[in-house]
């Protein structure tokens, strides 16, 4: 069974995420131990929180350099919501803070200082992507900051005043701006498909 190491860095809905990973058919392992996390097949970076607080916590525990190292050896990594934003170069939330820099791009406040909260659909840019069956499906969003970066990393976008990236990917690292674990059936199926596809383990 594929093991999913959920990074516990003091921020994030680790309990509900762990349950969703289990429903999707995988073995969740919540941990802040680099040794334990490195043994898992996939690393999952959760996040409900502010960027500045979260990156500070990652740095304090040394998990920031650990995650960067894992990406360099091509370990599959999934970032969810704030977890996705942390994978990027920097963010303006709570001052300008450097991110992990795994996916190049900036995190900026959404236009008109709006919050994007609730259910919205995603539109895949490449209709042959492994997530193609989720094109136009609705997922649960809860954020006020968004990704801005090179389009080559953008897998899907969502319409909110104007389109913005909601799934980004570079090599074996993928980030979701929405919460698959809180998006009912479609979310669990998307999580399942993603974990299977990027882990390369059947």
């Amino acid at each position: 069974m594929i093991s999913v190491g959920i990074v516990d860095y003091g921020v994030g809905n680790i309990h509900s995420l762990s349950k969703s990973v289990r429903i999707a058919g995988f073995r969740p392992e919540i941990s802040s131990s680099k040794e334990l996390l490195s043994k898992s097949d996939i690393i999952l970076l959760p996040g409900v929180g502010s960027f500045s607080f979260a990156i500070e916590n990652l740095k304090k525990s040394g998990l920031d350099s650990f995650i960067i190292k894992q990406s360099k050896i091509n370990k599959p990594i999934i970032g969810i919501c704030l977890g996705m934003q942390l994978l990027c170069s920097n963010s303006t939330e709570g001052g300008i803070n450097k991110g992990l820099g795994i996916i190049p791009g900036k995190i900026k406040r959404m236009s008109n200082s709006k919050f994007h909260i609730g259910w919205n659909s995603i539109q895949l840019k490449n209709k042959n992507h492994f997530l193609k069956r989720f094109n136009n499906h609705e997922f649960f969003f809860n954020h006020g900051y968004q990704f801005e970066g090179n389009q080559k990393y953008v897998i899907a976008e969502t319409e909110f005043e104007k389109s913005f990236p909601t799934i980004i990917k570079k090599n074996n690292t993928i980030g979701f701006q929405f919460h698959p674990e809180k998006s009912q059936k479609a979310g669990i199926q998307l999580l399942k498909k993603t974990i299977k596809s990027i882990s390369n383990i059947e």
Binding site: V11, G49, S50, G94, F115, F140, F160, Q189
Partner: protein, 256 residues
């Protein structure tokens, strides 16, 4: 396009779900797990838990209850209100399984802590809930701890606006009654860009569509009515006349 939400509110008192009428009378419903499990199965857009005796009894948030809910498990977004006093409480509520936290009396008691919570969990994850009532003298906030009402100062809310994402307006006197929500409560916010969740006596009628048509309203929440039958949520959603394209399609029994 972001959809307006039809949310479910669950009132918890002494670890049991109750039907609440005007914040005065409470009728027992039962254990929380089956109630929440049904709401999740029916595909409600969000579940809002009001754990009403935590602040009153200085108990702090009920982490075991939140963990029990997320262990069912459910995959519906969860917001929790109950005894949250500081950012450490808020972080623990989120790690226990709730995506969003709701504060009420803290807004008046210690607004500085609202800023601290927001700095830790992000303002998108923080909601403010206010039990309100309206009369010819204005809009009054009801403090359920000392059971007193005070004229609401909109400036105080606007000062804190960067620190919370949505304001839950509770027409507490209408709670438990059908189609009694006072739409006049929304007028005060019309000139200000504050995202609102409306709750308390909305009922299944034209009123729900009128409330949803307000530009600031992002969600309406139903409470007691959801306990009156199997698949009640589907019935409510079907009956709402408000533009279907602005609401999420029903996902119950949907195959992905």
């Amino acid at each position: 396009m972001i959809k307006k939400r039809i949310s479910a509110s669950v009132i918890v008192k002494s670890n049991r779900v109750v039907q609440s009428i005007s914040y005065r009378k409470y009728l027992p419903i039962g254990s929380i797990e089956p109630v929440v499990e049904n709401l999740d199965r029916w595909g409600v857009d969000e579940i809002i838990i009001f754990d009403i005796d935590r602040s009153k009894n200085s108990l702090g948030p009920n982490y075991d209850l939140i963990k029990a809910i997320s262990s069912i498990p459910i995959s519906t977004p969860l917001a929790y209100a109950g005894g949250i006093n500081n950012y450490k409480d808020a972080i623990r509520v989120i790690s226990s399984g709730s995506e969003r936290v709701i504060v009420d009396n803290l807004f008046f008691k210690n607004p500085k802590n609202i800023k601290n919570i927001s700095n830790a969990i992000g303002s998108q994850a923080l909601l403010l809930a206010l039990p309100l009532t309206i009369n010819k003298n204005g809009i009054f906030h009801y403090n359920y701890l000392n059971k007193k009402s005070k004229l609401l100062d909109l400036h105080k809310i606007l000062d804190l606006k960067p620190y919370f994402s949505e304001l839950i307006i509770i027409d507490y006197l209408s709670q438990g009654f059908d189609s009694k929500f006072d739409i006049g409560l929304l007028e005060m916010f019309n000139e200000n860009d504050i995202d609102l969740v409306c709750y308390g006596g909305i009922g299944v009628s034209e009123l729900s569509s009128q409330i949803l048509a307000n530009k600031n309203v992002k969600s309406i929440a139903f409470g007691n009515i959801l306990n009156y039958g199997e698949l009640k949520f589907q019935e409510i959603k079907k009956s709402i006349k408000y533009s279907k394209k602005n609401l999420r399609r029903s996902i119950f029994r949907e195959k992905i």
